[in-house]
Protein backbone atom coordinates (compact mmCIF):
# COMPACT_ATOMS: atom_id res chain seq x y z
CA UNK A 1 0.00 0.00 0.00
CA UNK A 2 1.27 3.47 -0.86
CA UNK A 3 0.40 6.04 1.75
CA UNK A 4 0.78 9.72 1.08
CA UNK A 5 2.27 11.69 3.96
CA UNK A 6 1.09 14.81 2.31
CA UNK A 7 2.65 18.23 2.09
CA UNK A 8 0.20 19.39 4.73
CA UNK A 9 1.07 17.37 7.81
CA UNK A 10 1.85 18.46 11.35
CA UNK A 11 4.94 16.26 11.62
CA UNK A 12 6.78 16.89 8.39
CA UNK A 13 8.17 20.20 9.70
CA UNK A 14 7.02 22.16 6.71
CA UNK A 15 5.68 21.31 3.31
CA UNK A 16 7.36 17.98 2.73
CA UNK A 17 5.55 15.19 0.93
CA UNK A 18 6.70 11.63 1.55
CA UNK A 19 5.28 8.71 -0.36
CA UNK A 20 5.40 5.70 1.95
CA UNK A 21 5.17 2.24 0.48
CA UNK A 22 3.98 0.07 3.34
CA UNK A 23 3.87 -3.58 4.17
CA UNK A 24 1.45 -3.54 7.08
CA UNK A 25 2.96 -1.17 9.61
CA UNK A 26 6.50 -1.38 8.19
CA UNK A 27 7.90 0.96 5.59
CA UNK A 28 9.31 -0.66 2.45
CA UNK A 29 10.39 2.55 0.74
CA UNK A 30 9.92 6.24 1.44
CA UNK A 31 10.17 8.63 -1.49
CA UNK A 32 10.33 12.32 -0.57
CA UNK A 33 8.68 14.72 -3.00
CA UNK A 34 10.12 18.21 -2.69
CA UNK A 35 9.53 21.60 -4.18
CA UNK A 36 6.45 22.83 -2.36
CA UNK A 37 8.42 25.76 -0.94
CA UNK A 38 10.60 26.44 -3.99
CA UNK A 39 10.65 30.19 -4.51
CA UNK A 40 13.59 30.53 -6.90
CA UNK A 41 15.91 32.29 -4.46
CA UNK A 42 19.05 31.38 -6.41
CA UNK A 43 17.58 32.77 -9.64
CA UNK A 44 16.35 35.93 -7.91
CA UNK A 45 19.83 36.59 -6.54
CA UNK A 46 21.11 36.84 -10.12
CA UNK A 47 18.82 39.80 -10.69
CA UNK A 48 19.91 41.74 -7.61
CA UNK A 49 23.12 43.49 -6.63
CA UNK A 50 25.32 41.74 -4.10
CA UNK A 51 23.98 43.76 -1.13
CA UNK A 52 20.37 43.50 -2.21
CA UNK A 53 20.61 39.71 -2.21
CA UNK A 54 21.31 39.59 1.54
CA UNK A 55 17.62 39.91 2.37
CA UNK A 56 16.88 36.89 0.19
CA UNK A 57 19.35 34.76 2.12
CA UNK A 58 17.51 35.32 5.42
CA UNK A 59 14.54 33.46 4.06
CA UNK A 60 16.10 30.18 3.06
CA UNK A 61 16.79 28.41 6.34
CA UNK A 62 14.33 30.50 8.31
CA UNK A 63 15.46 29.12 11.67
CA UNK A 64 19.03 30.22 11.00
CA UNK A 65 18.79 33.56 9.14
CA UNK A 66 21.98 34.96 10.67
CA UNK A 67 23.87 31.87 9.56
CA UNK A 68 22.60 32.31 6.02
CA UNK A 69 23.59 35.98 6.06
CA UNK A 70 27.02 34.99 7.35
CA UNK A 71 27.78 32.38 4.70
CA UNK A 72 26.71 34.69 1.89
CA UNK A 73 28.63 37.68 3.23
CA UNK A 74 31.74 35.56 3.85
CA UNK A 75 31.60 34.39 0.23
CA UNK A 76 31.23 37.93 -1.16
CA UNK A 77 33.97 39.19 1.16
CA UNK A 78 36.23 36.39 -0.07
CA UNK A 79 35.56 37.42 -3.66
CA UNK A 80 36.41 41.01 -2.75
CA UNK A 81 39.37 39.97 -0.57
CA UNK A 82 37.91 42.14 2.17
CA UNK A 83 39.26 42.09 5.74
CA UNK A 84 36.67 42.35 8.51
CA UNK A 85 37.61 44.08 11.78
CA UNK A 86 37.99 41.67 14.73
CA UNK A 87 35.24 43.34 16.75
CA UNK A 88 32.75 42.76 13.96
CA UNK A 89 33.88 39.14 13.67
CA UNK A 90 33.36 38.52 17.39
CA UNK A 91 29.89 40.04 17.30
CA UNK A 92 29.10 37.87 14.27
CA UNK A 93 30.23 34.76 16.16
CA UNK A 94 28.12 35.69 19.18
CA UNK A 95 25.01 36.28 17.09
CA UNK A 96 25.46 33.11 15.04
CA UNK A 97 25.89 31.00 18.17
CA UNK A 98 22.76 32.53 19.73
CA UNK A 99 21.02 31.63 16.48
CA UNK A 100 22.33 28.07 16.77
CA UNK A 101 20.84 27.77 20.27
CA UNK A 102 17.53 29.15 19.05
CA UNK A 103 17.48 26.73 16.11
CA UNK A 104 18.23 23.73 18.34
CA UNK A 105 15.48 24.87 20.73
CA UNK A 106 12.95 24.81 17.90
CA UNK A 107 14.28 21.43 16.81
CA UNK A 108 13.98 19.99 20.32
CA UNK A 109 10.54 21.45 20.88
CA UNK A 110 9.08 20.20 17.60
CA UNK A 111 10.81 16.82 17.77
CA UNK A 112 9.52 16.25 21.29
CA UNK A 113 6.06 17.38 20.20
CA UNK A 114 6.11 14.82 17.39
CA UNK A 115 7.02 12.13 19.92
CA UNK A 116 4.22 13.24 22.23
CA UNK A 117 6.16 15.22 24.85
CA UNK A 118 4.13 18.37 24.45
CA UNK A 119 5.32 20.42 27.39
CA UNK A 120 8.93 20.44 26.15
CA UNK A 121 7.74 22.45 23.15
CA UNK A 122 6.42 25.26 25.32
CA UNK A 123 9.54 25.37 27.51
CA UNK A 124 11.84 25.54 24.47
CA UNK A 125 9.83 28.29 22.87
CA UNK A 126 9.85 30.26 26.13
CA UNK A 127 13.66 30.32 26.02
CA UNK A 128 13.67 31.06 22.31
CA UNK A 129 11.60 34.17 23.04
CA UNK A 130 14.52 35.54 25.04
CA UNK A 131 16.87 35.05 22.09
CA UNK A 132 14.41 36.70 19.72
CA UNK A 133 14.17 39.64 22.11
CA UNK A 134 17.97 39.95 21.97
CA UNK A 135 17.86 39.95 18.17
CA UNK A 136 15.15 42.56 18.21
CA UNK A 137 17.28 44.83 20.40
CA UNK A 138 20.33 44.37 18.16
CA UNK A 139 18.83 44.44 14.70
CA UNK A 140 15.28 45.72 15.01
CA UNK A 141 13.93 42.38 13.77
CA UNK A 142 13.20 39.11 15.55
CA UNK A 143 13.86 36.69 12.75
CA UNK A 144 14.82 37.95 9.29
CA UNK A 145 17.40 40.28 10.73
CA UNK A 146 19.82 40.80 7.79
CA UNK A 147 22.13 41.91 10.59
CA UNK A 148 25.30 40.61 8.98
CA UNK A 149 26.23 42.69 5.96
CA UNK A 150 29.06 42.72 3.46
CA UNK A 151 31.95 44.33 5.32
CA UNK A 152 30.64 43.77 8.84
CA UNK A 153 27.33 44.39 10.53
CA UNK A 154 24.41 46.67 9.84
CA UNK A 155 24.19 48.33 13.27
CA UNK A 156 26.27 48.87 16.38
CA UNK A 157 25.29 46.71 19.37
CA UNK A 158 22.67 48.61 21.40
CA UNK A 159 23.54 50.19 24.74
CA UNK A 160 22.92 47.75 27.58
CA UNK A 161 23.45 44.70 25.38
CA UNK A 162 25.88 43.10 27.81
CA UNK A 163 23.30 42.89 30.59
CA UNK A 164 20.76 41.46 28.17
CA UNK A 165 23.01 38.72 26.81
CA UNK A 166 24.49 37.96 30.25
CA UNK A 167 21.02 37.49 31.70
CA UNK A 168 20.23 34.98 28.96
CA UNK A 169 23.54 33.14 29.27
CA UNK A 170 23.14 32.81 33.05
CA UNK A 171 19.53 31.70 32.80
CA UNK A 172 20.04 29.09 30.12
CA UNK A 173 22.16 26.23 31.61
CA UNK A 174 19.59 25.25 34.30
CA UNK A 175 16.91 25.34 31.60
CA UNK A 176 18.85 22.91 29.42
CA UNK A 177 19.19 20.71 32.50
CA UNK A 178 15.40 20.94 32.82
CA UNK A 179 14.89 19.57 29.29
CA UNK A 180 17.33 16.76 30.00
CA UNK A 181 15.52 15.97 33.22
CA UNK A 182 12.29 15.59 31.27
CA UNK A 183 13.69 13.56 28.40
CA UNK A 184 17.11 11.96 28.74
CA UNK A 185 16.17 9.25 31.24
CA UNK A 186 12.56 9.01 30.16
CA UNK A 187 11.48 5.45 29.29
CA UNK A 188 9.07 6.60 26.61
CA UNK A 189 11.76 8.80 25.01
CA UNK A 190 14.15 5.85 25.00
CA UNK A 191 11.51 3.59 23.50
CA UNK A 192 10.71 6.03 20.70
CA UNK A 193 14.27 6.99 19.81
CA UNK A 194 16.81 4.34 20.79
CA UNK A 195 17.76 2.14 17.87
CA UNK A 196 15.59 4.14 15.47
CA UNK A 197 17.02 5.54 12.26
CA UNK A 198 20.42 3.90 12.51
CA UNK A 199 22.87 4.44 9.67
CA UNK A 200 26.56 3.53 9.77
CA UNK A 201 29.13 6.30 9.44
CA UNK A 202 30.38 5.16 6.01
CA UNK A 203 26.87 5.41 4.58
CA UNK A 204 26.39 8.86 6.06
CA UNK A 205 29.70 10.11 4.68
CA UNK A 206 29.02 8.76 1.19
CA UNK A 207 25.50 10.26 1.26
CA UNK A 208 27.17 13.65 1.94
CA UNK A 209 25.54 13.96 5.38
CA UNK A 210 27.13 16.54 7.68
CA UNK A 211 26.32 18.14 10.99
CA UNK A 212 24.93 16.52 14.16
CA UNK A 213 23.79 13.48 12.15
CA UNK A 214 27.38 12.72 11.19
CA UNK A 215 28.79 13.59 14.62
CA UNK A 216 26.36 11.18 16.28
CA UNK A 217 28.00 8.44 14.21
CA UNK A 218 31.42 9.20 15.67
CA UNK A 219 32.86 11.40 12.92
CA UNK A 220 34.08 14.56 14.66
CA UNK A 221 33.81 16.85 11.63
CA UNK A 222 32.77 20.43 12.33
CA UNK A 223 33.52 23.23 9.87
CA UNK A 224 34.17 25.63 12.76
CA UNK A 225 37.12 23.48 13.78
CA UNK A 226 38.20 21.98 10.46
CA UNK A 227 38.11 25.13 8.31
CA UNK A 228 37.74 27.99 10.81
CA UNK A 229 36.09 31.18 9.59
CA UNK A 230 35.23 34.53 11.15
CA UNK A 231 37.68 34.17 14.09
CA UNK A 232 36.38 30.79 15.33
CA UNK A 233 39.98 29.64 15.77
CA UNK A 234 40.22 32.00 18.77
CA UNK A 235 37.38 30.33 20.66
CA UNK A 236 37.59 27.30 22.91
CA UNK A 237 34.80 24.80 22.56
CA UNK A 238 34.29 21.06 22.15
CA UNK A 239 32.62 19.19 19.33
CA UNK A 240 30.25 16.67 20.94
CA UNK A 241 30.11 13.24 19.31
CA UNK A 242 28.42 9.93 20.01
CA UNK A 243 28.80 6.56 18.34
CA UNK A 244 25.36 4.96 18.30
CA UNK A 245 24.16 6.94 15.25
CA UNK A 246 20.47 6.59 16.11
CA UNK A 247 17.86 9.24 16.89
CA UNK A 248 18.72 9.22 20.60
CA UNK A 249 22.41 9.87 19.90
CA UNK A 250 21.53 12.81 17.67
CA UNK A 251 19.34 14.21 20.44
CA UNK A 252 22.23 14.03 22.91
CA UNK A 253 24.65 15.65 20.43
CA UNK A 254 22.35 18.60 19.80
CA UNK A 255 21.62 19.22 23.49
CA UNK A 256 25.35 19.22 24.21
CA UNK A 257 25.90 21.58 21.26
CA UNK A 258 23.57 24.07 22.94
CA UNK A 259 25.84 24.03 26.00
CA UNK A 260 28.94 24.48 23.84
CA UNK A 261 27.34 27.42 22.06
CA UNK A 262 26.71 29.09 25.42
CA UNK A 263 30.45 28.73 26.14
CA UNK A 264 31.25 30.46 22.85
CA UNK A 265 28.78 33.28 23.56
CA UNK A 266 30.41 33.90 26.96
CA UNK A 267 33.86 34.05 25.39
CA UNK A 268 32.61 36.36 22.64
CA UNK A 269 31.11 38.72 25.21
CA UNK A 270 34.52 39.05 26.87
CA UNK A 271 36.26 39.67 23.55
CA UNK A 272 33.89 42.34 22.22
CA UNK A 273 35.16 45.79 23.14
CA UNK A 274 32.72 48.57 23.99
CA UNK A 275 34.06 50.85 21.27
CA UNK A 276 35.31 49.89 17.88
CA UNK A 277 34.44 49.46 14.22
CA UNK A 278 31.60 47.27 13.05
CA UNK A 279 32.40 47.56 9.36
CA UNK A 280 35.56 47.51 7.27
CA UNK A 281 36.90 50.63 5.70
CA UNK A 282 36.28 49.92 2.04
CA UNK A 283 35.05 52.96 0.14
CA UNK A 284 33.02 51.93 -2.84
CA UNK A 285 31.97 48.63 -1.24
CA UNK A 286 30.91 49.34 2.34
CA UNK A 287 28.54 52.33 2.55
CA UNK A 288 29.98 55.34 4.44
CA UNK A 289 28.56 56.55 7.75
CA UNK A 290 25.52 58.77 7.34
CA UNK A 291 27.12 61.78 9.07
CA UNK A 292 30.07 61.63 6.67
CA UNK A 293 27.72 61.24 3.74
CA UNK A 294 25.98 64.47 4.65
CA UNK A 295 29.15 66.55 4.90
CA UNK A 296 31.84 64.98 2.67
CA UNK A 297 31.59 64.99 -1.11
CA UNK A 298 33.48 61.72 -1.65
CA UNK A 299 31.29 59.92 0.87
CA UNK A 300 28.17 61.19 -0.90
CA UNK A 301 29.43 59.99 -4.27
CA UNK A 302 30.34 56.56 -2.85
CA UNK A 303 26.94 56.28 -1.19
CA UNK A 304 25.23 57.13 -4.47
CA UNK A 305 27.29 54.68 -6.50
CA UNK A 306 26.83 51.85 -4.00
CA UNK A 307 23.08 52.16 -3.82
CA UNK A 308 22.38 52.79 -7.49
CA UNK A 309 24.96 50.76 -9.37
CA UNK A 310 26.48 48.53 -6.67
CA UNK A 311 30.06 47.32 -6.48
CA UNK A 312 31.66 44.84 -8.86
CA UNK A 313 33.91 42.09 -7.49
CA UNK A 314 36.56 40.81 -9.90
CA UNK A 315 35.57 37.74 -12.00
CA UNK A 316 36.08 34.43 -10.22
CA UNK A 317 34.40 31.76 -8.17
CA UNK A 318 34.49 30.99 -4.46
CA UNK A 319 32.91 28.40 -2.19
CA UNK A 320 32.61 29.10 1.52
CA UNK A 321 31.43 26.35 3.92
CA UNK A 322 30.16 27.21 7.41
CA UNK A 323 28.69 25.05 10.16
CA UNK A 324 24.98 25.70 10.40
CA UNK A 325 22.88 23.97 13.09
CA UNK A 326 21.97 21.41 10.42
CA UNK A 327 25.35 20.71 8.91
CA UNK A 328 27.58 22.18 6.25
CA UNK A 329 25.97 25.26 4.78
CA UNK A 330 27.90 26.36 1.71
CA UNK A 331 27.69 29.34 -0.58
CA UNK A 332 29.13 29.16 -4.09
CA UNK A 333 29.28 32.48 -5.93
CA UNK A 334 30.47 32.98 -9.49
CA UNK A 335 31.18 36.58 -10.42
CA UNK A 336 31.57 37.88 -13.95
CA UNK A 337 32.82 41.33 -12.98
CA UNK A 338 29.38 42.94 -13.02
CA UNK A 339 27.48 44.39 -10.01
CA UNK A 340 25.08 41.43 -10.04
CA UNK A 341 26.26 37.89 -9.32
CA UNK A 342 26.43 35.51 -12.26
CA UNK A 343 25.45 32.53 -10.12
CA UNK A 344 24.73 32.09 -6.43
CA UNK A 345 24.27 28.55 -5.19
CA UNK A 346 23.55 27.56 -1.62
CA UNK A 347 24.49 24.08 -0.51
CA UNK A 348 21.68 23.50 1.93
CA UNK A 349 22.43 20.87 4.59
CA UNK A 350 18.74 20.00 4.98
CA UNK A 351 18.49 19.21 1.25
CA UNK A 352 21.54 16.96 1.27
CA UNK A 353 20.82 15.29 4.63
CA UNK A 354 17.25 14.49 3.59
CA UNK A 355 18.61 12.15 0.90
CA UNK A 356 19.41 9.69 3.67
CA UNK A 357 15.76 9.46 4.80
CA UNK A 358 14.77 6.49 2.56
CA UNK A 359 17.76 4.55 3.90
CA UNK A 360 16.97 5.48 7.47
CA UNK A 361 13.31 4.40 7.52
CA UNK A 362 13.64 1.18 5.50
CA UNK A 363 12.01 -1.64 7.40
CA UNK A 364 10.91 0.52 10.30
CA UNK A 365 7.44 1.44 11.56
CA UNK A 366 5.47 4.43 10.30
CA UNK A 367 5.82 6.06 13.70
CA UNK A 368 9.58 5.79 13.32
CA UNK A 369 9.34 7.74 10.05
CA UNK A 370 8.15 10.72 12.04
CA UNK A 371 11.07 10.28 14.43
CA UNK A 372 13.54 10.07 11.52
CA UNK A 373 12.22 13.16 9.76
CA UNK A 374 12.51 15.04 13.03
CA UNK A 375 15.98 13.77 13.79
CA UNK A 376 17.40 14.87 10.43
CA UNK A 377 16.23 18.39 11.40
CA UNK A 378 15.02 19.76 8.11
CA UNK A 379 13.86 23.23 7.30
CA UNK A 380 11.91 23.22 4.06
CA UNK A 381 12.98 26.74 3.14
CA UNK A 382 16.51 25.42 2.82
CA UNK A 383 15.52 22.14 1.18
CA UNK A 384 13.58 23.86 -1.58
CA UNK A 385 15.06 27.37 -1.73
Amino acid sequence: MVLNMGPQHPSTHGVLRVLLELDGENVVTAVPDLGYLHTGIEKSCEDKTYSQAITLTDRMDYLNPLGNNLVYCLAVEKLLNLEIPKRAQYIRVMMVELQRISSHLVWLGTHALDMGAMSVMLYCFREREEILKIFERFAGQRMMTSYIRIGGLSLDPPSGWRELVKRFVDMMPPRIDEYEELLTNNRIWHGRLKGVGYLPAETLISMSTTGPGLRAAGVAFDNRKAFPYSSYEEFEFNVPTRTESDCFARYLVRVQEMRESLKIVRQAMDKITDQGPIKSEAPGIVPPQREKMKTEMEALIYHFKIFTEGFSPPPGEVYVPVESPRGELGCFIASDGSPKPLRVHFRGPSFVNLQALPLMVKGQLIADTVACIGTIDIVLGEVDR
Binding site: L34, G35, H38, G40, E42, K43, S44, E46, D47, K78, L79, N81, I205, S206, M207, S208, T209, T210, V219, F221, A226, F227, P228, G316, E317, V318, Y319, P321, E328, G330, F332, A334, L342, R343, H345, R347, F351, V352, L354, Q355, D384, R385
Partner: protein, 159 residues
Protein backbone atom coordinates in the same frame (compact mmCIF):
# COMPACT_ATOMS: atom_id res chain seq x y z
CA UNK B 1 44.49 28.28 5.89
CA UNK B 2 46.08 29.29 2.56
CA UNK B 3 49.07 27.06 3.40
CA UNK B 4 46.76 24.10 3.93
CA UNK B 5 45.02 24.72 0.62
CA UNK B 6 48.27 24.96 -1.33
CA UNK B 7 49.94 21.94 0.24
CA UNK B 8 46.85 19.83 -0.33
CA UNK B 9 46.34 21.09 -3.87
CA UNK B 10 49.83 20.20 -5.10
CA UNK B 11 49.45 16.65 -3.71
CA UNK B 12 46.19 16.22 -5.64
CA UNK B 13 47.57 17.66 -8.87
CA UNK B 14 50.75 15.57 -8.70
CA UNK B 15 48.89 12.33 -7.94
CA UNK B 16 46.36 12.91 -10.71
CA UNK B 17 49.06 13.78 -13.24
CA UNK B 18 51.09 10.73 -12.21
CA UNK B 19 48.02 8.53 -12.67
CA UNK B 20 47.04 10.01 -16.04
CA UNK B 21 48.91 12.94 -17.53
CA UNK B 22 45.95 14.42 -19.43
CA UNK B 23 43.64 14.39 -16.39
CA UNK B 24 44.58 17.91 -15.26
CA UNK B 25 43.76 20.31 -18.10
CA UNK B 26 44.18 23.48 -16.06
CA UNK B 27 44.76 24.57 -12.46
CA UNK B 28 43.18 27.78 -11.15
CA UNK B 29 44.31 29.26 -7.84
CA UNK B 30 42.06 32.04 -6.59
CA UNK B 31 41.50 33.45 -3.10
CA UNK B 32 43.22 30.45 -1.50
CA UNK B 33 41.04 27.93 -3.33
CA UNK B 34 42.25 25.51 -5.97
CA UNK B 35 40.14 24.45 -8.94
CA UNK B 36 41.26 21.58 -11.16
CA UNK B 37 39.75 21.77 -14.63
CA UNK B 38 39.32 18.30 -16.09
CA UNK B 39 38.20 17.06 -19.52
CA UNK B 40 34.55 16.01 -19.30
CA UNK B 41 35.16 12.56 -20.74
CA UNK B 42 37.54 11.75 -17.86
CA UNK B 43 35.35 13.17 -15.07
CA UNK B 44 34.03 9.86 -13.75
CA UNK B 45 37.45 8.18 -13.79
CA UNK B 46 39.09 11.17 -12.09
CA UNK B 47 36.36 11.28 -9.45
CA UNK B 48 36.86 7.59 -8.71
CA UNK B 49 40.60 8.15 -8.47
CA UNK B 50 40.10 11.07 -6.07
CA UNK B 51 38.01 8.88 -3.81
CA UNK B 52 39.96 5.64 -3.96
CA UNK B 53 43.56 6.86 -4.03
CA UNK B 54 44.66 6.52 -0.37
CA UNK B 55 46.77 9.67 -0.58
CA UNK B 56 43.81 11.72 -1.82
CA UNK B 57 40.93 10.03 0.06
CA UNK B 58 38.17 12.49 -0.92
CA UNK B 59 35.41 10.54 0.77
CA UNK B 60 32.66 13.13 0.56
CA UNK B 61 31.15 15.21 -2.22
CA UNK B 62 30.21 18.48 -0.53
CA UNK B 63 28.44 20.14 -3.41
CA UNK B 64 27.74 19.84 -7.12
CA UNK B 65 26.58 22.89 -8.99
CA UNK B 66 26.43 24.42 -12.43
CA UNK B 67 27.18 27.84 -13.89
CA UNK B 68 25.59 28.85 -17.18
CA UNK B 69 28.14 30.82 -19.21
CA UNK B 70 25.68 31.68 -22.00
CA UNK B 71 26.45 32.90 -24.66
CA UNK B 72 30.01 31.53 -24.31
CA UNK B 73 30.75 27.96 -25.36
CA UNK B 74 31.18 25.45 -23.75
CA UNK B 75 28.07 26.72 -22.05
CA UNK B 76 27.59 24.76 -18.82
CA UNK B 77 30.38 24.69 -16.30
CA UNK B 78 29.97 22.01 -13.62
CA UNK B 79 31.72 22.51 -10.30
CA UNK B 80 32.19 19.70 -7.79
CA UNK B 81 33.39 20.50 -4.27
CA UNK B 82 35.25 17.52 -2.82
CA UNK B 83 36.01 17.05 0.85
CA UNK B 84 38.42 14.65 2.50
CA UNK B 85 37.33 14.28 6.13
CA UNK B 86 40.39 12.31 7.31
CA UNK B 87 42.81 14.78 5.67
CA UNK B 88 40.62 17.87 6.29
CA UNK B 89 41.21 18.99 2.72
CA UNK B 90 38.99 20.53 0.07
CA UNK B 91 39.39 20.80 -3.68
CA UNK B 92 37.17 21.76 -6.60
CA UNK B 93 36.83 19.81 -9.84
CA UNK B 94 35.50 21.70 -12.82
CA UNK B 95 34.40 20.51 -16.22
CA UNK B 96 32.35 21.98 -19.03
CA UNK B 97 29.71 20.63 -21.38
CA UNK B 98 28.36 22.24 -24.50
CA UNK B 99 24.94 23.79 -24.78
CA UNK B 100 23.96 21.65 -27.80
CA UNK B 101 24.67 18.38 -26.01
CA UNK B 102 24.48 18.91 -22.24
CA UNK B 103 25.26 15.35 -21.15
CA UNK B 104 27.80 14.18 -18.62
CA UNK B 105 28.54 11.09 -16.55
CA UNK B 106 26.81 10.89 -13.21
CA UNK B 107 29.03 10.75 -10.13
CA UNK B 108 26.40 8.81 -8.19
CA UNK B 109 28.34 5.51 -8.53
CA UNK B 110 31.29 7.16 -6.76
CA UNK B 111 29.44 9.26 -4.16
CA UNK B 112 25.76 8.29 -3.65
CA UNK B 113 25.24 11.75 -2.16
CA UNK B 114 25.43 13.16 -5.70
CA UNK B 115 21.95 11.75 -6.35
CA UNK B 116 19.80 14.72 -5.36
CA UNK B 117 22.46 17.29 -6.29
CA UNK B 118 22.47 16.03 -9.90
CA UNK B 119 18.68 15.83 -9.95
CA UNK B 120 18.60 19.50 -8.98
CA UNK B 121 21.01 20.42 -11.80
CA UNK B 122 18.94 18.34 -14.22
CA UNK B 123 15.77 20.05 -13.01
CA UNK B 124 17.01 23.64 -13.13
CA UNK B 125 19.55 23.52 -15.99
CA UNK B 126 18.47 20.63 -18.16
CA UNK B 127 21.76 18.73 -18.08
CA UNK B 128 21.42 14.94 -18.39
CA UNK B 129 23.50 12.67 -16.18
CA UNK B 130 24.36 9.28 -17.71
CA UNK B 131 24.25 6.47 -15.21
CA UNK B 132 22.04 8.25 -12.70
CA UNK B 133 19.63 5.87 -11.00
CA UNK B 134 16.60 8.15 -10.85
CA UNK B 135 16.97 11.22 -13.08
CA UNK B 136 13.78 13.23 -12.75
CA UNK B 137 12.75 16.66 -11.59
CA UNK B 138 13.10 17.32 -7.89
CA UNK B 139 12.06 20.86 -7.06
CA UNK B 140 9.76 21.82 -9.92
CA UNK B 141 6.52 20.03 -10.84
CA UNK B 142 7.00 17.08 -13.18
CA UNK B 143 4.99 18.77 -15.94
CA UNK B 144 7.16 21.91 -15.93
CA UNK B 145 8.76 22.74 -19.27
CA UNK B 146 12.10 24.45 -19.47
CA UNK B 147 15.17 24.95 -17.33
CA UNK B 148 14.68 28.07 -15.18
CA UNK B 149 18.25 28.68 -14.02
CA UNK B 150 19.57 29.00 -17.56
CA UNK B 151 20.54 32.59 -18.35
CA UNK B 152 18.11 32.82 -21.26
CA UNK B 153 15.16 31.98 -19.00
CA UNK B 154 13.69 35.26 -17.67
CA UNK B 155 13.70 36.06 -13.96
CA UNK B 156 10.13 37.30 -14.09
CA UNK B 157 7.32 37.78 -16.54
CA UNK B 158 6.01 35.56 -19.24
CA UNK B 159 8.30 33.62 -21.51
Amino acid sequence: MPQLANANASVVIDRLRAWKSESVAQVIEYRGETTIVVPHKLLLAIARQCKEDPELNFDQLSDATCVDRFPNEPRFELNYQLLSIPRLARIRLRTSVSGQQPVIDSLEPVWPGANWMEREIFDLFGIRFEGHSDLRRILLPDEFEGAPLRRDFPVEGKR
